[in-house]
Structures are given as structure tokens and as C-alpha cells.
């Protein structure tokens, strides 16, 4: 028997999920995520006062949420996204992609820019593929950002290997709470690390 690839939520289920999920804090996550995607995927610095070519992220987000409860609006695929939040982020990703594509294609000069922007870090053509060398660079950047030995020690297990906190705690003989605290301090340095890597032309 073929496995089901989609189960669509009813309007009532979507309404309930919206009432539970949408909060000011969640809204902030949506704004931050959109700004991050614009910056990281398309190299676009979003202006909170003027928007991206006049398009405001808050309008994009509001229209997206409303479209889930409108007639013939968006669906929530419960198989692919059991968590409604994930469905929202996925739809937001497509909206951002389409918005940038449409806007960039309006200008002949930038007609092929979307392809250029799509060259993500998955692109195998990036010449420097020396993992160890880049890891060393990350570590020296983290040190420059004031990371402690503990933070540096946990950089690889947390970020690269995605090891669970409980496993790290057991492996390093520390408490889960200590791992959480180290992770929090490390997390505060990751966006700066990413910017530094970009500035030396790693990444894009």
C-alpha cells in the first residue's frame, strides 16, 4: 500500500493552530528569520523603515498567515509538517524566494541575479574545501570573539555534529545545565562568526 504523502488540516485545525502559535514572540521570530534569509540567501540587507523595494516584511507575514484561513488559501500539510510553525516557516521561505525573484527580474540588469544569489554554500565550485583549515579559522575567530575553552571545545559537537546536550554532558563529565550555559554563550558568538567567515569570502 502506498504511503500517504499529505494530510491536509481542516480550517478549524488551522484556526486553532494559529490562535496557539501566533504571539508577539513568534512574530519576532518570523521577522528575524525573514531578515536572516534575505541576508544569507540573497545578500540583501533589509531596511525596517523602507522594506525591500517597498515591500514590507510585516505585510508579507500578515498576508501569509491570513492566507491559511482564507477561502482557497494555503494548506497545512500535516504529514510533511506535523508542527504548524514549521509549515509557516516553509511557506515564508517560498514567499521570500518568489518576492526576491520577481523584484530582481523587474530589472533587466539583474535578470540573472537570482541564479547568482542561488549559488549557495552547497555549490561544489567553491575552491577552498579544506574542512580542517576552516575549522581552525572558526576557532581563532571564536577566540577573538572572547570564547572560552569550553565554548571552543563544544563548537563542533553542538554545531556540526548536532550532538544532544545529554550526550555531551555524559561525554565531557559535566552537567546538562552546564552544557546549556556554555551553548548559550557560544550561541551569542555564532552570528558574528558567520559574518567574519563571509568577510573573508568563505560562504558566498
Amino acid at each position: 500500500m502506498e504511503e500517504k504523502t499529505q494530510i491536509l488540516a481542516t480550517k478549524q485545525e488551522i484556526l486553532q493552530a494559529i490562535e496557539t502559535v501566533i504571539t508577539p514572540k513568534f512574530y519576532k521570530r518570523l521577522i528575524a528569520y525573514s531578515i536572516y534569509r534575505l541576508k544569507n540567501r540573497f545578500d540583501i540587507k533589509y531596511d525596517t523603515n523602507r522594506g525591500f523595494r517597498g515591500i514590507m516584511l510585516e505585510d508579507l507575514i500578515n498576508d501569509l498567515i491570513v492566507s491559511f484561513i482564507s477561502e482557497k488559501g494555503r494548506n497545512w500539510n500535516k504529514i510533511k509538517f506535523p508542527d504548524f510553525e514549521k509549515q509557516i516557516f516553509s511557506s515564508l521561505d517560498s514567499l521570500i524566494y518568489n518576492m526576491v525573484k520577481k523584484e530582481l527580474e523587474k530589472t533587466i540588469k539583474t535578470k540573472t541575479s537570482i541564479e547568482k544569489y542561488n549559488v549557495s554554500v552547497n555549490d561544489d565550485s567553491i575552491e577552498n574545501d579544506d574542512y580542517e583549515e576552516l575549522l581552525d579559522i572558526c576557532i581563532s575567530h571564536l577566540k577573538a570573539l572572547g570564547a572560552s575553552d569550553d565554548e571552543i571545545l563544544l563548537f563542533e559537537p553542538i554545531l556540526i555534529e548536532k550532538t544532544k546536550r545529554s550526550v555531551i554532558a555524559e561525554e565531557y563529565g559535566i552537567s546538562v545545565k552546564e552544557v546549556t550555559n556554555i551553548k548559550k554563550r557560544l550561541d551569542r558568538k555564532i552570528p558574528a562568526l558567520q559574518n567574519l567567515l563571509k568577510s573573508i569570502n568563505y560562504g558566498k
Binding site: K11, L15, I18, I22, T23, P24, K25, F26, Y27, K28, R29, L30, I31, A32, Y33, I35, Y36, R37, K39, N40, K45, T48, E58, I61, N62, I65, V66, I69, E85, F89, S120, V121, N122, D123, D124, I126, N128, D129, D130, Y131, E132, E133, L134, L135, C138, L159, I160, K184, D187, R188, K189, I190, P191, A192, L193, Q194, N195, L197, Y202, G203
Partner: protein
Amino acid sequence: MANKLINKIDEYIANSIMEGNIEIIDTFLEENNYNISEIEKLSEKNYKKLSFKIKGIINAQKDEILLEKVANIFQEAINKNIEKPISFLKNLLANRDYAFHYRNLENLSRNEIKEIIKDHNLLEILEKLDEDEE
């Protein structure tokens, strides 16, 4: 392999933002020269705007459901020739100047019934019909 590491960092930040990791969200915003309190104000303001819009849509949908329900009761009453709801509907018709005023009730379409009752207090009508049924 280097790409893998950069991808992992990218993925880590994106996932952390989605999961609501406040350390990552706030440092990412600060690191890129955004004012966190401005972003929070923007989020609060637009959350309220969105909630208001959603409530409006939900209320409109609830009204539509209620309208369907009351229209159903009247249509069933017409089909089964139940006296009280029919006379109730006749009263509503008598008080308003409808184009289909003089037509037989059995010829009324569902949309016409909805048109007759839509501007009335549907909850009151529903209560009245329930009382009559009892």
C-alpha cells in the same frame, strides 16, 4: 568539507531562529545593526494588527456558519411543511419589501432564504425556533 561546515553554521542559525533561540536571534539582529527593541515594537504592533484581522475573518466565518444553519432549518420546515417556522418566515417576509414577496415559500431557493434572514439577529431567530420546537 569546508562547504559542509559553512552549511552547518547557516543551518544552525536558521534552525535556532525558527526554534526561538533568543541568544541567536538577538545577537544575529545586533550583529547586523538592527535595533532589537525596534524589532520587538514592530512585532508587537503587527501581531495586534494581524490578530484583529484574523478575528474579523473568524467572526465572518462564524456568521456564515450560523446563516447556513438557520437557512437549513427554514428550508427543512418548508419541505416538511412545519407550521411554526413557516409562519415565522412569513412574518419576516411581511415586514420587508422583498422582490419575491408574493411567491410561494416552497419556491424559495436557499440563497433567497439567506437573503431574507441575513440582516436579522440570527441567534435570536435560532432561540425562537428552538423554543417553538420545545
